[in-house]
Symmetry: C2
């Protein structure tokens, strides 16, 4: 077969772990079960890594909601093409117990003390981009601010017009081109590390902004659990490549200036949201 070679891949979220790989184990970090969520759909499990560095209060509230079984039998009610999948119900639709209804926004954090690994590449939206503890981020050194940026797979907190109207009962995942205009406007709480395609391949809603027309089109969420609350045998042993590791630096450079002879004009640059963040299953 005189095959026309497929395009060089852009993103590989999940890489298989070769037992004989010459990995330095220290280049990988285990996902913290206390900051990992399992969203169970009929189609499978979506795994979310939470980012308490960026949004400690919202994440505490989300975990409180999860432990109150708030999300169980809630629904994905919005799938807007090239934008977001959204789930949960507006506050009030289901009782809150200990969870808070309003939270002070966590759109940004003080940059000081954060382990920011900068990219040298120019960015359209921020003075500087890079990674903080495995998450794509941006920094404004002049203002002393840092924030998680919206990339494919980013999880954020839906809110009303008031900045403090988000509480984590309604969440979204980005399923399209990075909607960077949302940066510094919503609280980012994490990213999807496995099962992304269970969200991204859902039928698009046909109402305004991608809402489903009818309730029977909604996708039921069987449950959301904190991984730490799930029996160990049912957990996924995932590791993420450290974004401050030499291996990751090599991968960034390969993405920036590919040595693959397929590329005739290496890009020379790298967009913070055009970077694979490798995750592997260790057994």
């Amino acid at each position: 077969m005189a095959a026309i070679r497929s395009l060089i891949s852009s993103v590989l979220l999940l890489v298989p772990f070769a037992a004989n790989a010459q990995d330095s184990r220290s280049e990988w970090r285990s996902l913290d079960p206390e900051n990992t969520l399992y969203m169970e759909l009929e189609s499978g499990r979506v795994i979310i890594e939470l980012a308490p560095r960026f949004a400690p209060n919202h994440i505490e509230n989300i975990k409180t909601l999860v432990r109150e079984n708030y999300f169980d039998q809630q629904r994905i009610n919005r799938v807007q093409d090239n934008f977001v999948v959204q789930w949960g119900e507006p506050a009030g639709a289901k009782p809150f117990r200990k969870a808070k209804r309003t939270l002070f926004p966590e759109f940004m954090q003080p940059a000081e003390g954060l382990n920011f690994a900068p990219l040298p590449d120019a960015d359209t939206y921020a003075p500087q981009t890079g990674f903080i503890d495995g998450f794509p981020a941006a920094r404004n050194s002049e203002k002393g601010q840092a924030w998680a940026v919206h990339c494919y797979g980013t999880i954020g907190v839906g809110r009303d017009t008031a900045a403090d109207s988000g509480n984590g009962a309604e969440l979204y995942a980005v399923i399209g081109h990075a909607p960077r205009q949302l940066d510094r406007n919503v609280t980012v709480v994490g990213r999807v590390v496995q099962g992304m395609s269970l969200l991204s391949s859902l039928p698009r809603g046909t109402k305004s902004m991608g809402f489903y027309e009818r309730r029977d089109q909604h996708i039921v969420i069987n449950s959301i659990r904190v991984a730490a609350d799930v029996p160990e045998a049912e957990r996924e042993p995932l590791e993420a490549l450290r974004t401050d590791s030499p291996r990751f630096a090599t991968q960034l450079e390969a993405k920036r200036n590919s040595k693959d002879e397929w590329y005739k004009s290496p890009a020379g640059h790298l967009d913070i949201c055009n970077v694979p963040l490798p995750v592997r299953r260790i057994r």
Copy 2:
């Protein structure tokens, strides 16, 4: 219902035409039926606007293939999450008649004479970005080059390692974050203007690079036709907003610095691939 307001939308590809709108008709342009393709799937019609300004020879070859019924009963055989949907078969799998098997690459064009409407915003990958005749594009004035950039919905020509190994028999559509590393490495021939979600919501392939495991998973393409060859009653009367119109400039500025009070920190900047390119049906 104490609704948490949904996120402000990022992209609206298809806008309904309000008959009483104060549109200046000249701000919209009809899609040229000679440069519009209808890809007919079981699930519906995907409409592609071709961009002869960027790739006249490849587009001529693709239209030759279309008119040889080359694509009829071909298949979508690859759906890679956050990257591309790909269809057609490698050259040789189905006979070519008049269509060429190899073409000189059309990765870039001389910038001179192209109607380039620049954006003021910095770009990670190119010295300058903007629009050329309705298509997102980039320019390197020093080198006198311009090219169509890879955004969500962009259609490009699959190729093997050799730069001239693409011929249009294998095409892809971008279904994820803009894979800008492909710019200047493949020939871009157009963009999806309707039916994008028929591609983006397809099940992801589970083999390497998103290929489907089995042939029975492939999505059959009933046919691809040039709109001009379709009876007028079966055509879609679509118009695209001119990217050099005042209305479009207003939309860009609203995206860059939203006046909506939902936004607490207007972005101030705009990424060439984070821009809706409105298309409407006129009757």
